[in-house]
C-alpha cells in the first residue's frame, strides 16, 4: 500500500520535472530553432543567408521599402530579407528594447536617428565604423548634420536615409488681404512680428484668424533657438548649453509673443485645432506656421488650390537662416546574428543606389544624400526646393545619451516660460542643469 502510494508520488514528481524541463526547453528552443532555420536556409539555397528586417512602414512607404528590398535581393542573391512589420511608434522601440535585452534582436531595423545617441550609450547598437571605413562610406556622402546624428562619440552606429526640414509656411491670400507683399515674406523677427500683428483678427478671447503661434506645428524651441544663433550643446565639454543667452533670447521672444496675444487664448485656439483636412493652416485660421516638408503633400491632398509659400524661419538679423532636421536611419542592433549580411543591406539602403530606388517611390520625401535628391529631380517642385536648399545649413539635435530627456526638458521649459511659471532664463538653466546632471553617469 505504502509502496504504491510512493510510486504514485514518484510519477507525479516525474510529471513535474517533465513539465519544468519542457518549459525550460521552450525558453531555449527559440534560439536553436532560429539557428536551425538560418542553417537550413544557408544549406538549401546555395548559401542563402536570411536576415530579419524590422520596419514600421505602411501604405506607400511599405511599397517603396518592398521595391528597394527586391532590388537588393536581385543584386545580392545570397541574402534574403525577411521583412517584419513592427508598428512605428514608441511601442516599436520597446519591442526592440526587449529583443536586444533578451539577446534575440532582428538583424536590421529602421530607427529614429534621434535615439542613436542614447542607444549607443547603452551599448545596444552594433558599431559600424570599421565596416563603413572598409567600404569607403564617409561623411562626404551625406549632409553634415545627418552623418553627425548617426555617430556617437566618434563611432558610427547606423546609416541615415531619410530626412526633413522645417520652414515658415505662409498664406499668400492672407498676406494680400492684410496689405503685405506675398512675394516678400518676413525675413527678420521684427518683420515677422509686424506681419503677425497685421494678420491677427481677434474677437473677445477667440481668434478668427491668428497670424502666428511660434510654437505651433514644428515651432519647437530647437528651431527658434538655432535661428536666434544659439547652440544647445558644447562638443568639447560634452555638456548641454540650453541656457545659451541666444536661446534664452529666443524663448523670451516666444514668451513675449504669447503674452501679447494672451497665452491661454492661444492654447484655446490650439486645442480647438483639427488635423488633416481640418488643419488650421489649410482652413485659413492661421496665416503662418513653422512646419516640415511633409505638410506639402497634406496640402496637396486636402486643399490643392491653397495659395501659400514657404520661407526660411526668420532670424533676428534677417541672414544666416537655418533649420533643424531629423529622420530615420538603419541600424544593426547589438546581438544580431548575421552582421555581415546585415551590413550588406545597410550599406545598400544607406548609399546612393538603394536610396534612389527607395525615394523614387516617395516623391514628397527627402534623402540625406544630396545627389539622390538631385537625380530624382526633387528641386523641380519650387516649394520642396526651398526645403532642400536649406539642408546644407541644417542642424541635428545633439547626439547625447539623454537626448529624450533634453527634448522633454526643452518642451517643459517652453511651456513653463510661456505660461509664466518662471522666466526663460530660470527655466532653461534648470533644464540645462537637469540634463547635465543626468549626463554625469555616462562619464
Amino acid at each position: 500500500m505504502l509502496k504504491k502510494r510512493f510510486s504514485k508520488f514518484r510519477t507525479i514528481s516525474l510529471l513535474f520535472v517533465t513539465i519544468f524541463t519542457l518549459a525550460l526547453a521552450g525558453c531555449t528552443s527559440d534560439n536553436t530553432s532560429s539557428n536551425a532555420g538560418s542553417d537550413s536556409g544557408s544549406s538549401s539555397g546555395d548559401d542563402v543567408t536570411e536576415i530579419t528586417f524590422w520596419h514600421g512602414a505602411t501604405d506607400i512607404g511599405l511599397t517603396a521599402l518592398e521595391t528597394m528590398v527586391k532590388a537588393f535581393e536581385e543584386k545580392n542573391p545570397h541574402i534574403k530579407v525577411n521583412m517584419v512589420y513592427t508598428e512605428s511608434s514608441e511601442g516599436a522601440d520597446q519591442k526592440l528594447l526587449t529583443a536586444v535585452a533578451g539577446g534575440n534582436p532582428p538583424d536590421v531595423a529602421l530607427f529614429d536617428r534621434f535615439k542613436i545617441g542614447s542607444w549607443a550609450a547603452q551599448d545596444s547598437l552594433t558599431d559600424l565604423t570599421d565596416m563603413a571605413e572598409t567600404d569607403g562610406i564617409t561623411k562626404d556622402l551625406y549632409y553634415g548634420y545627418a552623418w553627425e546624428e548617426a555617430n556617437y562619440e566618434g563611432r558610427l552606429y547606423g546609416l541615415p536615409y531619410s530626412t526633413d526640414s522645417r520652414l515658415l509656411y505662409y498664406n499668400k491670400d492672407h498676406f494680400e488681404a492684410a496689405g503685405l507683399d506675398p512675394e516678400n515674406p518676413p525675413k527678420t523677427i521684427q518683420e515677422l512680428e509686424v506681419a503677425a500683428e497685421k494678420l491677427t483678427k481677434k474677437n473677445g478671447n477667440r481668434f478668427e484668424q491668428i497670424g502666428l503661434i511660434p510654437w505651433y506645428g514644428q515651432g519647437w524651441l530647437y528651431g527658434w533657438g538655432w535661428s536666434f544663433g544659439g547652440d544647445f550643446f558644447d562638443e568639447e565639454s560634452g555638456l548641454v548649453t540650453a541656457d545659451d543667452p541666444k536661446i534664452v533670447e529666443a524663448l523670451q521672444w516666444m514668451t513675449d509673443f504669447g503674452k501679447k496675444y494672451n497665452v491661454e487664448d492661444i492654447a484655446g485656439f490650439e486645442s480647438s485645432a483639427g488635423t488633416a483636412a481640418m488643419d488650421p493652416f489649410i482652413l485659413g485660421q492661421i496665416s503662418m506656421k513653422v512646419d516640415g516638408n511633409w505638410t506639402i503633400s497634406a496640402i496637396e491632398k486636402y486643399k490643392p488650390d491653397l495659395n501659400y509659400g514657404v520661407t526660411p524661419i526668420p532670424t533676428p538679423t534677417g541672414t544666416d537662416f537655418t533649420t533643424w532636421s531629423g529622420g530615420i536611419g538603419i541600424v544593426i542592433p547589438k546581438g544580431a546574428k548575421n552582421v555581415e549580411a546585415a551590413w550588406e543591406f545597410v550599406k545598400y539602403f544607406g548609399t546612393q543606389e538603394g536610396q534612389e530606388v527607395y525615394f523614387a517611390e516617395l516623391p514628397g520625401d527627402l534623402s540625406v544624400i544630396p545627389e539622390v535628391n538631385e537625380n530624382l529631380g526633387r528641386g523641380d517642385n519650387p516649394i520642396l526646393k526651398q526645403f532642400i536648399d536649406i539642408l546644407p545649413n541644417s542642424n541635428s539635435r545633439p547626439v547625447i545619451p539623454e537626448g529624450q530627456l533634453l527634448w522633454n526638458e526643452l518642451v517643459t521649459a517652453t511651456e513653463n516660460s510661456t505660461r509664466e511659471n518662471g522666466t526663460p532664463q530660470e527655466n532653461l538653466e534648470k533644464a540645462t542643469e537637469t540634463v547635465n546632471k543626468a549626463l554625469e553617469k555616462y562619464k
Binding site: F9, E90, L97, S118, S124, A267, S271, L405, N408, V411
Partner: protein, 312 residues
C-alpha cells in the same frame, strides 16, 4: 491493557495515514494549480523581488548597471518632476475618489428605484466602462474642445464662456476627473449589489417609526452601504494612484500643459523606457507601493469607526 496499547497505537497510525492522504489530496491540487503557481512565481514574484534589488542599482534594461545603494531614492527626493507628479496624482485622487463615491452612490440609488425599463437605464450607465481608455480619451478631447466641443457649446447656451479645458493648467486636472467619472459604472454595479443586500424590514420599521426619505437614507441606506463604500474607497484610491492610460494617450506622453498632467506612473514609465533608468523607475515603484500601502492601512484602521456590517 492490550486494548489500551492498541488504542494508543492506532492514533499515530491514523495521523500518519491522515497526513499521507492529506499530501496525496494536496498533490493533485498543487498539480492543477501549478500553471498558475509557475506563472505567478516567474512573472510576478520574481520581477517583484528583482525590482527591489534593481531599485538600488543603475540598471537600464540593456545594461546591468552598478549597485549604488540608496542613491536612486536620494535623487528622487531632489527631483522636481517627481514631486510635481506626486502633487498631480494626489490632487487627482483627492478629487476623484470622493466624487466617485458621491456620484456612484447617488447613481446607484437612482438606478435602484422601481421604475419601468430600469434594466435599460442600468445598461446605459454601465456602457461607458466598456469603452477602451484610448477611445475614451479621443472622445473626451472632442467633447472638451474649447472651440466647438459639445460641453462649451452647451455652456454657451446658458451664457457661460467655457474654459479652455485641456489646454489650461488650471482646468486640465478637473477635466481628467470629469472624464474619469464618466467610467463609474463598475462601482455603481457594486453599490447596486450592496443596496440589494439591505433587508426590507429595516425600511418597513423606519416607515412605522415615521421616518421620511432623507432619514431613511441617512440612517439605514448609508450605514449599511458602508462596507461597499469601504471597498470602493480602497480600490478607487489604488486605481487613482495608478492613473496612466488616459493622461498618457491624451498628451502623447508629454503631460502637457506644463506637466500639469504628468502623473506618477507616467513619469515612472518615462524613466524606465525612455530615459533607460529602470533602477530609478524601480525605486519610484516601491515608493508608490509604500504610499498606496500606508494609505490603504489608514483606511483600514479608520474603517471600524465608520464601516457598519450587518448583523454586528
Amino acid at each position: 491493557m492490550a486494548e489500551l496499547s492498541k488504542a494508543t497505537n492506532t492514533r499515530p497510525v491514523n495521523e500518519v495515514r491522515k497526513k499521507k492522504s492529506f499530501i496525496k489530496s494536496n498533490i493533485h491540487g498543487w498539480l492543477f494549480a501549478s500553471p498558475w503557481i509557475i506563472g505567478f512565481l516567474a512573472f510576478f514574484a520574481f520581477p517583484l523581488i528583482a525590482s527591489i534589488y534593481f531599485s538600488f542599482t543603475t540598471y537600464s534594461i540593456l545594461k546591468p548597471g552598478d549597485f549604488v545603494g540608496v542613491q536612486n531614492y536620494k535623487e528622487l527626493m531632489q527631483d522636481d518632476l517627481f514631486w510635481k507628479s506626486i502633487y498631480n496624482t494626489i490632487y487627482f485622487t483627492i478629487f476623484y475618489v470622493p466624487l466617485s463615491i458621491i456620484f456612484g452612490v447617488a447613481l446607484a440609488m437612482m438606478l435602484n428605484m422601481k421604475v419601468k425599463g430600469m434594466a435599460i437605464y442600468r445598461t446605459i450607465f454601465f456602457l461607458p466602462t466598456l469603452v477602451p481608455h484610448v477611445a475614451l480619451a479621443v472622445l473626451w478631447m472632442w467633447l472638451l474642445n474649447p472651440g466647438f466641443g459639445l460641453i462649451n457649446g452647451m455652456l454657451e447656451i446658458i451664457g457661460i464662456q467655457g474654459p479652455n479645458w485641456l489646454g489650461s493648467e488650471t482646468w486640465s486636472k478637473p477635466s481628467l476627473v470629469l472624464m474619469s467619472l464618466w467610467g463609474i459604472g463598475q462601482a455603481v454595479i457594486i453599490y447596486l449589489a450592496g443596496l440589494g443586500d439591505i433587508p426590507n424590514e429595516l425600511y418597513e420599521a423606519a416607515e412605522v417609526d415615521g421616518a421620511n426619505w432623507w432619514q431613511k437614507t441617512r440612517n439605514v441606506t448609508i450605514p449599511l452601504l458602508t462596507p461597499v463604500i469601504f471597498f470602493n474607497l480602497v480600490m478607487g484610491a489604488i486605481g487613482a494612484f495608478q492613473q496612466f492610460t488616459l493622461p498618457y494617450t491624451m498628451t502623447q506622453g508629454q503631460g502637457t500643459p506644463a506637466n500639469s498632467l504628468t502623473f506618477y506612473v507616467m513619469y515612472l514609465y518615462d524613466n524606465a523606457f525612455k530615459y533607460f533608468q529602470m533602477g530609478y523607475a524601480s525605486a519610484m515603484a516601491w515608493i508608490l507601493f509604500i504610499i498606496i500601502m500606508s494609505l490603504t492601512a489608514v483606511i483600514f484602521i479608520t474603517s471600524n469607526r465608520w464601516v457598519h456590517y450587518q448583523g454586528k
